[in-house]
């Protein structure tokens, strides 16, 4: 199986307020179609790692590969493009542009990518909303929908450019068990049927147990 994401000896320090070695020699791989979860105590560095893996944070040591290509050291313009095309990110807090409609929120990354025509983009966006069972709220303002709906809109947005990997930082953290279950099933389906890789930080043991592999973190290190 092809490797989609690889971290090699990633180290990160926070220099303020005191020098703090937050990530220590993190190395692992995620293969195509694999559903991986990351678990660990609060404050062990999971979010920090995810920001590095998603190319938003460039202040680290070590190497990061995406699709077997080195992305460490690329310029910001290129990194933006990589995030846009290859990585979908789902936050714990549903991050949507509140003044835009649900549909527009989902379409925005595709419009930025500019590989499809506007009508194709709209069609694709509606398709993703349908997969997530929320096509009926497509025209609603993003600020006027429920938290669970927002989370699913964020997932639809992460999917719009057909990325190779989806990263989530506690994507079910704010959802009730029914909606959490629902999101898990969506992820599972995407990884099984569409060959999408997933890397999800979670505190939910039941959720993690159902994934292909669990990465245990403690104090900035991988412990299992």
């Amino acid at each position: 199986m092809k490797t989609v994401l690889e971290a090699r000896n990633i180290n990160k320090y926070f220099k303020k307020p005191v020098l703090f070695h937050v990530l220590k020699n993190i190395s692992f791989k995620v293969r195509q179609g694999e559903f991986v979860s990351i678990m660990g105590k609060s404050g062990c560095g999971k979010s920090t790692l995810l920001y590095i893996l998603s190319t938003m944070d460039t202040d680290y040591e070590g190497q990061l590969f995406l699709n077997e290509e080195l992305v460490t050291g690329e310029n910001r313009e290129k990194l933006s493009h990589i995030r846009n095309k290859y990585i979908g990110f789902v936050f714990q807090f549903h991050y949507l542009l509140s003044e835009f409609s649900v549909l527009e929120n989902v379409m925005l990354p595709a419009k930025k990518l500019g590989e499809k025509s506007p009508s194709q983009i709209e069609e694709a966006a509606m398709e993703k909303l349908r997969i997530l069972g929320i096509e009926h709220i497509a025209q609603k303002r993003a600020s006027r929908i429920s938290g669970g709906e927002k989370q699913r809109v964020a997932i639809a947005r992460a999917l719009i450019n057909d990325p190779v990997i989806i990263m989530g930082d506690e994507p079910t953290g704010n959802l009730d068990s029914y909606n959490a279950e629902n999101v898990f099933n969506i992820f599972k389906d995407l990884s099984d049927n569409q060959g999408l890789s997933l890397l999800v930080v979670t505190h939910d043991k039941d959720f993690a147990d159902k994934t292909d592999r669990i990465i245990e973190m403690g104090d900035g290190e991988i412990i299992g």
Partner: protein, 420 residues
């Protein structure tokens, strides 16, 4: 690759959802540009009016015979004193006549020059106006009235009567309005004038002349060239001045120099004669621009503030956009386009406001003794100033938007996401 459609769409949505702030920022620009247009139209209108007042009646080149001491005194012709130091006391002007020798051939010659629109003969002479026991000193100028009308807008200064009446009346005179008032004379009356040598002639008043410059109107009158020649007892080729009007004012200096050389006459070009005039116009322009720039800077700070505020409110949006693949440059362009849109909309409204205000001023009555021609405040509707205005609006909003947008460009999405 910049996807303008997406960027402008986001910019538009931001502006529309914050319509109040947008409107305030745009109104600042509108106010600045509107005042600029109004001020500059009014000021340049005023300048132009004052310029016209002088320049229309001023020939581009004025040719006459200056009474001045000979540059080469007789002693310089003596070979014997060539190497000695000569002192000449009490130099007197050379016995010379005011008459331009060969005036008519010179006029013919000038009119053949392609730069020249017209060369007009004049006779200037000192006279006294006599009404009963009053005797007032003054100037009488003999002119070719119809040509003066054609080339020097003379008609504008004939406030009563018509130029044609002078042309058709043999012993007619266009009396200066100041004198007419002093002597209680009007059209149809007769005025006695006396030459320096003492002869007295009655002339019929066919009109009143008013230049708007009181000192001039108190002494100056006009008559036909022939009339003046007859009064002075001179022949038909007696001409004291030639006024030249050119196609372009820039040719005035070279032509004047050429004439001085060629004919040994005094030739003054308009720029030399009215150098002090430019200074006044320049200072008025300076004030106009100083005020307008101040207004625009204030408007610029308004935009700067509002964009800063907007960016602060939109931190989350910026983080989301960056996390989903928009580059720092894209985000910067989103906010820059907001500034420029505010600039364009506010600027265009400002042009309209300026146009309306100056139209209103243009219709406000403004009547003054000094300016017989002017009925309303002068406004200069020059399209050029509208171009300057809109460019100004865009440049100033561009700079006002630049710093905040630069800040937005540098925002680190991780910081924002973490702080949730």
């Amino acid at each position: 690759m910049i996807n303008w459609k997406v960027i402008l769409n986001i910019a538009k949505t931001h502006l529309l959802t914050k319509i109040k702030q947008t409107a305030i920022a745009a109104l600042g620009v509108t106010f600045g540009i509107g005042s600029y247009i109004t001020l500059v139209s009014f000021m340049t209108g005023l300048n132009k009016m004052l310029d016209d007042l002088i320049l229309n009646q001023t020939p581009h080149v004025h040719i006459y015979n200056e009474i001045e001491p000979s540059k080469k005194q007789p002693i310089a012709f003596y070979e014997e004193f060539k190497n000695s130091f000569n002192v000449v006391h009490s130099i007197k002007p050379k016995q010379s006549q005011k008459k331009i020798h060969n005036a008519l051939p010179i006029i013919d010659y000038l009119e053949k020059n392609e730069h020249v629109r017209g060369a007009l003969p004049q006779i200037k002479t000192q006279i006294f106006y006599i009404a009963g026991s009053i005797e007032i000193g003054g100037n009488l100028t003999g002119i070719d009235i119809m040509q003066e009308v054609e080339f020097f807008n003379f008609k504008d200064y004939v406030v009563k009567g018509t130029p044609e009446a002078l042309k058709n009346t043999n012993n007619g005179i266009l009396l200066g309005s100041g004198i007419a008032e002093k002597m209680s004379l009007g059209i149809g009356d007769r005025v006695q004038i006396s030459t320096i040598s003492g002869e007295i002639f009655p002339l019929k008043i066919v009109g009143l002349y008013q230049s708007g410059i009181a000192d001039l109107d108190n002494i100056q009158s006009f008559a036909n060239i022939k009339t003046v020649q007859r009064i002075l007892g001179e022949a038909e080729n007696y001409i004291t001045d030639i006024n030249v009007k050119l196609h372009t004012i820039e040719d005035a200096l070279p032509l004047a120099q050429k004439i001085e050389q060629q004919f040994q006459l005094k030739a003054i070009d308009i720029n030399t004669a009215n150098a002090q005039f430019e200074t006044g116009s320049n200072i008025r322009n300076l004030i106009t621009y100083a005020v307008s720039i101040t207004l625009l800077i204030v408007a610029g700070f308004g935009i700067y503030n509002i964009l800063n505020m907007l960016i602060y409110e939109k931190m989350n949006d910026i983080a989301i956009l960056k996390a989903t693949g928009f580059s720092g440059k894209d985000v910067q362009l989103i906010f820059m386009s907001q500034a420029v849109i505010i600039g364009i909309v506010g600027g265009i409204l400002g042009l309209i406001l300026g146009f309306i205000l100056s139209s209103v001023i243009d219709n406000v009555p403004f009547e003054t003794e000094a300016l017989p021609l002017i009925k309303t405040y002068p406004i200069n509707f020059d399209f050029f100033y509208y171009m300057v205005g809109i460019s100004f609006a865009m440049v100033s909003t561009f700079f006002a938007g630049y710093l905040p947008s630069q800040k937005a460009k540098k925002i680190d999405p991780v910081d924002i996401i973490r702080s949730q």
